[in-house]
């Protein structure tokens, strides 16, 4: 975490404060980590675009003093793709909800990863639909309660890291709001990485997920995040790990940091071959 006294206000849009987020919501911790990463990278905010979807997480673009875009549910990565392609000088960061990323926007996610376009996606994964009042998500664990799975979820949850790895993302990490010291480092790495980066952050929604699943208050939920995760060899290569080993032991850390041709570079190569270079 940023040391006490470090001033993040230049990165934040004061006129939009306070945020809409409930007291204890994990989304604020993630937003703070993004601001910290922006500061650490010393980015010129004229050239930073934050493109969000719809949901509690989707509100994040409003809180950054940047080029901010609050798009439609699930489509943020498609908007970001057009934006980044015509203006590659922008650093494009896409905060997404788990519903945004894994349900309605799943198609855009896998294709952005496949193309390896230089965008940083940050999934605010609270295992539930916060904004609409606690409905089940494709990330809700089996047996978890939501307003649309009052008897417990019978669907297996998507593992967003596995999904991103399989789809071809070249920087893939997972952390939690408990691990607030590692989070800015992973986000900094993701932004710096040239290619499609995905950072999944396990976040807490005390208002719905916490209440419906009797997980207590926000501090209890942070401890729950700690207890259900297991640190990979810190920021090293991903170890072989079986699905069984992962139960109750969800690995966190940096799973992949690899080089592969980036989409816009590839496109510019095509333009050069076609003689369209300016």
């Amino acid at each position: 975490m940023t040391k006490p006294g470090v001033d993040l206000t230049p990165y934040l849009r004061q006129e939009m404060m306070p945020t809409v987020w409930c007291p204890g919501c994990g989304h604020g911790i993630i937003a703070r980590s993004i601001a910290t990463a922006l500061m650490e990278l010393g980015l010129d905010m004229d050239l930073v675009a934050i493109v969000g979807g719809i949901g509690c997480s989707g509100r994040a673009p409003f809180y950054f003093d940047a080029n901010s875009m609050h798009t439609t549910h699930g489509r943020a990565l498609a908007y970001a793709t057009g934006l980044k392609m015509v203006n590659p000088g922008l650093t494009v960061i896409v905060p997404m909800g788990d519903g945004d990323a894994a349900a309605i926007g799943g198609n855009h996610l896998i294709h952005a990863a496949r193309r390896n376009i230089d965008i940083t996606a940050i999934i605010f994964n609270n295992s539930i639909y916060g904004m609409t009042g606690g409905q089940g998500a494709p990330t809700s664990p089996v047996d978890s309660r939501s307003t649309t799975s009052p008897l417990g979820s019978i669907e297996p949850a998507f593992d967003m890291v596995e999904l991103a790895l399989a789809a071809g993302a070249t920087y893939v990490a997972r952390t939690t709001t408990f691990d607030f010291q590692e989070m800015p480092k992973l986000i900094t790495g993701a932004i710096r990485h040239h290619g499609f980066s995905l950072v999944e952050v396990l976040s807490q929604c005390p208002t719905y997920y916490g209440r419906l699943n009797k997980l207590g208050e926000a501090p209890d939920m942070l401890l729950y995040e700690r207890d259900r995760t297991k640190l990979l060899e810190a920021f090293g290569p991903a170890p072989e790990i079986t699905r069984e080993e992962m139960v109750g032991q969800m690995p966190i850390g940096l799973f992949r940091d690899a080089e592969r041709p980036e989409y816009i570079d590839q496109y510019h190569g095509l333009v050069a071959r076609a003689g369209g270079g300016k």
Binding site: F62, S68, H70, A78, T81, V86, N107, H108, R273, A274
Partner: protein, 377 residues
């Protein structure tokens, strides 16, 4: 002079208009636009991307517009339906973007290779919430070229999505054409200071990266772009302002053609591909002694009620043939308000109207309003 396909004309016109971003997903009968753009964009330093679906295509085009591009996407019915939510986003965020819908038979998969005009109302009202859009259409290859350039120009002027409605026949038809030199509205480098209101009246479009930290949101917002208190009133004020500007400029933004309207008793009011048969029908009807005329409307929306009023002031009957079950006839009827009969003639079987079918319908209409001198057969 050279032989050019309708879809090819659209792509060439887009390049002429300064289009430097194309996103799309293949669909008959619009695919050739995409295939042409896949060749044209890299050659001209623009961006081409084949997206994963039409939702992604329109979203990427809007994102590209905010990146500073003149952006276009093209599709047909099924894809146009998928685009609707995000077309509304472009309306709400006052984003210039051009959407081509080459209409095929519907609903659903319908008749993929055959023409229709089923999206007249969808183009106007397809997205949820009330809003303004501009919808253009064309009936020849050279007009498809001209209207594509005008679509880009209007999108720039009014900061709106502009929809160009073609159909399967026009898209695939080849005609010998000499392209006209349609003037292009160039985007000026925006000038703004710290008091700049990105969504203020007549505000220039300031793309991302220009230095102003704009907030773009589909939520109701005020002139600053922020979803503040009273945003409902603010967005009503902003969108009504756009509508008012278009109303004031109605004569400049309404494209149409007319044939023999001065003394016409019976007016054929058509749009798009149907105008071709209607032109011939007017000649046949005149030869038979019936004073017929043609009003071929190319700017479908905003609805040019003033034009319909002016051009049909002396008409005793209006025939509205369209390749649907009666869509554009609705605003025409509302405007005429009973002054004379307004007859709908619809078909959605994938066939075009023949001039003879229009002649028959016009004669029946003439007879019903007791216009003499007509040879009835």
């Amino acid at each position: 002079m050279r032989l050019v396909q309708g879809n090819e004309a659209v792509a060439l016109a887009a390049v002429h208009a300064g289009c430097n971003f194309y996103s799309g997903y293949p669909i008959t009968p619009a695919t050739e636009i995409m295939e042409m753009m896949a060749r044209q964009m890299p050659k001209t330093g623009g961006v081409f991307i084949q997206m994963e679906d039409e939702i992604g295509s329109i979203a990427a085009a809007i994102g590209a517009a905010w990146g500073g591009a003149k952006a276009m996407t093209a599709t047909s019915g099924p894809g146009f339906s998928l685009m609707q939510e995000n077309i509304g986003y472009a309306c709400m965020t006052q984003t210039p973007v051009v959407i081509v819908d080459s209409q095929r038979g519907g609903p659903s998969t319908g008749l993929p290779t055959l023409p229709a005009q089923g999206e007249v109302m969808q183009a106007r009202y397809g997205t949820h919430g009330d809003h303004e859009v501009i919808v253009l259409t064309a009936s020849s290859v050279v007009e498809a070229y001209r209207m594509t350039v005008e679509a880009f120009n209007l999108a720039e002027t009014y900061r709106l999505p502009v929809i160009l409605l073609l159909d399967a026949v026009l898209s695939h038809m080849r005609e010998n054409v000499e392209f006209p030199d349609v003037p292009v509205r160039q985007r000026q480098k925006p000038i703004f200071d710290e008091n700049f209101l990105p969504f203020g009246p007549d505000a220039p479009f300031v793309p991302f990266g220009s230095g102003h930290h704009t907030v773009v949101t589909g939520m109701s917002h005020d002139e600053t772009g922020l979803p503040k208190a009273l945003a409902g009133q603010a967005v009503q004020r902003i969108l009504q302002g756009v509508a008012e500007r278009m109303r004031q400029d109605a004569r400049e933004i309404t494209f149409y053609r007319e044939v023999s309207l001065d003394d016409a008793d019976i007016v054929l009011l058509t749009f798009g591909i149907t105008a071709r048969a209607a032109r011939e029908a007017v000649g046949l009807l005149r030869a038979d002694g019936l004073k017929a005329g043609l009003l071929d409307i190319q700017t479908l929306w905003p609805f040019p009620d003033w034009l319909v009023q002016e051009k049909t002031a002396n008409a005793r009957g209006i025939l509205v043939p369209e390749l649907n079950l009666g869509q554009y006839v609705m605003p025409v009827r509302a405007t005429i308000a009973g002054r004379c009969p307004v007859e709908a003639l619809g078909r959605m079987d994938g066939e075009l109207f023949t001039p003879e079918a229009l002649v028959d319908a016009a004669k029946k209409l003439a007879a019903s309003v007791e216009i003499g001198g007509v040879a009835h057969d």
